[in-house]
C-alpha cells in the first residue's frame, strides 16, 4: 500500500488529537447499536439491552479502548499493516470467529465518530485518507483467514 506524504500527514494529525479511550468506546458502542447483530460476539458483556445500557456498559468501554489502541499500531506502522495484524487476524479467524465484514462496519463507524468529533476539520481529504486506512486495516485483519 502506498501512502502519499499528504495522507500520512492527515492520518497522523487526526490521530494525534484522538482520545483513544473516548473514541474507541464510542465506536464500539455505535457498532453494537447501529448493527445490533454484532452483539453476537459479546454475549458475556452483560447489559446490552438499549443504547443507553450499551453506552454506559464498562465492558464495552474497556473493549472499545482496547480495539482502538490496537488500531494505533496501524497508524504507527503504515508501511507494514499486514505484518502488524498477522497474529490478530489469526485470532479473529480461529478463536473469535468474526466475519471480516464486521471490520468494514467498525471502520466506517469509526469515521463517523471522527466526523462528529472534528466537525468541518474532518475534511474530504481527511475522510479519504482515513477510509483508505480503515480499508487497509480491515483487509489485513481478514488476510490470515482460512
Amino acid at each position: 500500500v502506498h501512502w502519499s506524504a499528504e495522507e500520512k500527514q492527515l492520518i497522523a494529525s487526526v490521530w494525534g488529537k484522538v482520545s483513544v479511550e473516548e473514541c474507541g468506546a464510542e465506536a464500539l458502542a455505535r457498532l453494537l447499536i447501529v448493527y445490533p447483530w454484532t452483539q453476537r460476539f459479546f454475549s458475556n458483556f452483560g447489559n446490552l439491552s438499549s443504547p443507553t445500557a450499551i453506552i454506559g456498559n464498562p465492558k464495552v468501554r474497556a473493549h472499545g479502548k482496547k480495539v482502538l489502541t490496537s488500531f494505533g499500531e496501524a497508524v504507527k506502522n503504515l508501511d507494514n499493516i499486514k505484518g502488524t495484524y498477522s497474529k490478530l487476524s489469526e485470532l479473529h479467524c480461529e478463536k473469535l470467529h468474526v466475519d471480516p465484514e464486521n471490520f468494514r462496519l467498525l471502520g466506517d463507524i469509526l469515521i463517523i465518530v471522527l466526523a462528529a468529533h472534528f466537525g468541518r476539520d474532518f475534511t474530504p481529504a481527511c475522510q479519504s485518507a482515513w477510509q483508505k486506512l480503515v480499508g487497509v486495516v480491515a483487509h489485513a485483519l481478514a488476510h490470515k483467514y482460512h
Binding site: 447499536i33 447501529v34 443504547p51 450499551i54 463517523i112 466526523a115 466537525g119 474532518f122 474530504p124 481529504a125
Partner: protein, 143 residues
C-alpha cells in the same frame, strides 16, 4: 424496519438541514468521489472538479429525492418508484446495495460534521436504516 421512533428522529434531523440541502448534497457527492474513486465511473459526462455546477446540481437533486422519501416514510416503495425504475433500467448503477453504501457513508459523515454530538447513536442508527431501506427500494427492479 423503521420504527416510529426512527421515523421521528429522521424527520427531526432532516429538519435541521433546512436551507443547507444543496450544500449537504454537493458535499456528500464530493466526499464520495474523493473517497471512492470507482463511483466516478458513473459520471463520465460530469465536470467532477470541486465545486462544479454539475456536482452541486446533482447533489441538490439527490437530497431533494431523499427529502421526498422522508416525507413518505410509510410508503417508500411508492415514493421512490420512479427512481427505482431509473436506477434499474436506465442508470444501472451497480446494485444500490454497494453504491448507496458509499453515498450513505458520505452523507452520514457530512451530517456528523455538521451536527457533532447531535448525531447521536440513535440518530446514526435511524439514518443508517433509512438509507438501507432506500437502497433496497432502488434495487427492487434490478432483476
Amino acid at each position: 424496519m423503521l420504527t416510529a421512533e426512527d421515523k421521528k428522529l429522521i424527520q427531526q434531523i432532516w429538519g435541521k438541514l433546512a436551507g443547507a440541502e444543496e450544500d449537504v448534497g454537493a458535499e456528500a457527492l464530493w466526499r464520495m468521489f474523493h473517497s471512492y474513486p470507482p463511483t466516478k465511473t458513473y459520471f463520465p459526462h460530469f465536470d467532477l472538479s470541486q465545486g462544479s455546477d454539475q456536482i452541486r446540481g446533482h447533489g441538490k437533486k439527490v437530497v431533494a429525492a431523499l427529502g421526498n422519501a422522508i416525507k413518505n416514510l410509510d410508503n417508500l416503495s411508492q415514493a421512490l418508484s420512479e427512481l427505482s425504475n431509473l436506477h434499474a433500467y436506465n442508470l444501472r448503477v451497480d446494485p444500490p446495495r454497494f453504491s448507496l453504501q458509499f453515498l450513505s457513508q458520505c452523507l452520514q459523515v457530512v451530517l456528523a460534521t455538521r451536527l457533532g454530538k447531535e448525531y447521536t447513536p440513535e440518530v446514526h442508527s435511524a439514518v443508517d436504516k433509512f438509507m438501507s431501506a432506500v437502497a433496497a427500494v432502488l434495487a427492487e427492479k434490478y432483476r
